[in-house]
Structure formats: C-alpha cells, structure tokens
C-alpha cells in the first residue's frame, strides 16, 4: 500500500512540478536533443507511475506478500483458465492499465490518421501548384510571402516560396533548407505528434501541456544546430530574421516571437554545449525518470520474491 501511495503522490506532484523544474535554467537551449529526451522521459515517468500506483493498490496485499512468484502464477492461471481465476484486484489493475493504454492508442490513431490525411492532401496540392527544383532539392511555390517549411511522410518534401528565394541570398537559402532537412531526417514530426497525442489524451495535465509546447520549440533549436554543422551560424540567424520579419503579419500564430528571438541570439553567439558533468547529470536524470517508478513498484515484490526463494532454499 505504501508503494501505491508513493507512486500516486509522485505522479501527482510530478505532473505539476516537473514542468516548472525542467524549464529552469538554460540547459535545454544548450542541449535541445537531450532536453527533448528529458521531456519524453518525464511524461513516460508520470504516466507509468500513475498506472503502477493503481496496480499496486489494486493487487491484494496477499498477492504482494507472496511476491512476484505468486503474481506470475496468478497471471499464468488467468491466461490458461481466464474464467475460473478472476481475483478482483487483477481485474481492476488490468482495467486501469487498459484504460490508459486504450486512451493513448485511440488518441494516437486520431492524431496520426488526421496528420496522414492532411499530409496527403497537402502533397497533392503541392504537386499541382509547385515545381520541383532539383538543384535545391525542394518544391518551389510561386508565392509572394517568404516561407519555408517541410512536409514529412515518405521521403518528405521541403517547400520554399519564390518570395523566400527572392529575399534570401543563396547561402541563406541553403542554410534554411539544411534546417528543413534536419527536421525530416530527425523525424521531428513524430516528436510533435507525441506531444499532440499526450495532451489530447490527458488534457489539463500541466506536464503534458508544457511538454507539447516545449518539444515543439526545442525541435527548432535542434534543427538549427544540425544546420549549423554545415552552414555559418550567421547565415542561419540572418535567414531567420529575414523570414520572420519579411512577412505580412496577417496570421495569428500560436507561438509568439520569443522563440525566433531565442533562435537568432543562439545562432549569433558561439556554440555552448553542456560540459561533461552537466551532460552526465542530465542523462542520469533521464534514466532516473524512466527507471524510478518501476524500481519503486518492484521493491516490495522483489524483496518478497527473494525472501520466498531463500525460505525454500534454507534447510529445514
């Protein structure tokens, strides 16, 4: 029961406190890829501990007392003769796990299918409206506003408007397209989809909401970093400014201009990667987030399991 309470309290407090903790400092901007992993680990951690808390509470004390051996036995019995053995605890546990899993799967299907349909429709229109430029490796759209983006799925397509080609010198066009290529190769649309799925499946959870907006922001920084491996940082910064300011502000975007500012400042300054200690600490935190809930949940079980076996091994 203690385990259930600990896990439950962790899930609740983590859902509220983790987002506040993770946005502290500038480490995320210095290591965007690690930061994305950290957000995903935090979400997985809270989600699994919530499920495990219910599991720990629902499985009767006797089962926990006899340890994993009994649990496995019960599961085996349940599988081989489902109708006969139905301890209420196991049913509740399976139902709660299934509920969370089912909700996630349902939302994943909705988000991914919608994205797939939208991408197909978008690609069809691009086919009619755009022209593939093999020198650029991108689809060129005849449009006055300077816009560059990518359409994932399959091999993915990079799209750039004639407005962007007119307002950017060739080296900046190359830098922008390298940024897009980084999105496609990094499969960043899956990061965005994961954020969308979680916040749709469990709305009102501060952690999931924040994870969604933060990861959407961090993939941009990550793509900038990848582009900066081959292109001068100043070209990326300059292209960003031109693309962000040269547009008629006719649309209200979800995100403000803060991220554009962050990105330009980052690209204007030199690279500031995490040092070895900071990196190790971050990786350790990711590991702890992922392994922690399972470790807590298994502690009584494992000790009971060991005690059980030791007891059997001991000569009478």
């Amino acid at each position: 029961m203690i385990v259930a309470v600990v896990l439950g309290l962790y899930a609740l407090s983590g859902a509220v406190a983790l987002p506040r903790l993770l946005v502290r400092g500038d480490w995320a901007e210095r290591a965007p890829r690690l930061a994305i992993a950290m957000w995903h680990a935090a979400c997985a951690s809270v989600l699994t501990s919530a499920v495990l808390a219910v599991l720990a509470a629902a499985i009767p004390a006797s089962v926990v007392g006899h340890g994993i051996a009994d649990l496995l036995e019960a599961c085996a019995a349940l599988l081989s003769d489902g109708a006969a053995v139905t301890p209420t605890g196991l049913v509740i546990a399976a139902a709660s796990g299934g509920l969370v899993g089912g909700r996630l799967a349902y939302c994943a299907a909705v988000v991914l299918l919608k994205a797939k349909r939208e991408r197909r429709e978008h690609a069809e229109m691009l086919c009619l409206l755009g022209k593939h430029d093999s020198a650029l490796g991108a689809v060129v759209l005849d449009h006055i506003e300077p816009i560059a983006y990518c359409l994932p799925g399959g091999k993915g397509k990079m799209v750039i408007t004639t407005g962007a080609l007119r307002s950017l010198p060739p080296e900046e066009v190359a830098a922008v397209l390298a940024h897009e290529q980084a999105h496609l190769q990094g499969r960043h649309h899956l990061v965005v989809a994961a954020g969308e799925i979680l916040s749709r499946a469990f709305p009102y959870v501060p952690l999931f909401r924040r994870a969604r907006s933060e990861t959407a922001r961090l993939i941009e920084l990550q793509a900038d970093d990848v582009a900066a491996r081959r292109h001068a940082r100043i070209h990326i910064a300059s292209a960003l400014v031109r693309l962000a300011t040269g547009r008629v502000p006719a649309f209200s975007m979800g995100m403000g201009g803060e991220n554009a500012l962050t990105r330009v400042r980052r690209m204007l300054g030199p690279e500031t990667p995490l040092n070895r200690h900071e990196r190790l600490a971050t990786v350790a935190a990711v590991g702890l987030l992922l392994a922690g809930p399972a470790a807590v949940a298994l502690t009584p079980g494992v000790s009971a399991f060991l005690a059980h076996h030791c007891h059997e091994l001991l000569p009478r």
């Binding site: 009619l128 449009h143 983006y149 408007t161 554009a260």
Partner: protein, 124 residues
C-alpha cells in the same frame, strides 16, 4: 517526364490556368498533343478527376463538357499557405516555423541583434 496521373493532373491544370477561359477536353488534348502522344480518354479521365477534386467546374454545352478552373493558381497557393499557417505552426502534419508572428518591437530587436554582430565574423 510525365509518370502517373498525378503528374498529368498538374500538366492539365497548368494548361487550364494558362488559358484563362473555359476549354473542352478536345481543346486540352490538341494542346497536349503538340508535345506528346496522349489518348482522348486519358485526358478526359484526368479532367474528370480534377472536377471531382473541386479544381475544375464544368457545364455541358451540346454533347461535350466545357471545363474551367474554379480559381487561379495564385488563389490556390494563397489558400494552401493560409490553411497551413492557420494551423498555428508546428503540427503533426506539417512542420511550419520560421513564421512566428512578430510584433514590431520584436522585429526591431531581431534586426538590431543582427546589426550588432561584428561584420568581420561573417563568413560568406
């Protein structure tokens, strides 16, 4: 090179947009035949598809349909960009960024940040 029907659709739409007037399947066929071998039924199928997709409207004059583009290419492009941007940036479907709307102050700050950068450091 024209590969599938999708590519043909774009060729036919380009013709329709360039005419700026209604045209029959026969008109488009004769136009296309100046460059390639193509069957009447192929062009008819493609134009029928484009009609079903809502890109061409048609009306029957005597026995044949006369087709016309519903909107200009520019209008379609503008609409595609509008819907893409209206989704609010990064979506699972398209990764659109570089487009956060800036307030005039933010735009100024960006320009200023770029100006401050020492020109010596600009590799080009």
């Amino acid at each position: 090179m024209v590969r599938g029907l999708g590519d043909l659709e774009s060729v036919v739409m380009d013709r329709m947009w360039s005419y700026r007037r209604p045209a029959s399947v026969r008109d488009v066929l004769e136009d296309l035949r100046q460059e390639r071998q193509i069957a009447y039924t192929t062009v008819m199928t493609v134009m029928d598809n484009l009609h079903k997709k809502g890109l061409l409207r048609r009306k029957q004059i005597s026995r044949a349909y006369v087709y016309e583009a519903i909107a200009s290419k520019e209008a379609y492009t503008a609409e595609l960009m509008r819907t893409t941007l209206a989704n609010g940036g990064n979506q699972a479907a398209t990764l659109v960024h570089f487009l956060e709307r800036l307030s005039p102050e933010e735009a100024e700050a960006l320009e200023a940040a770029l100006q401050v950068y020492p020109p010596r450091g600009r590799r080009s």
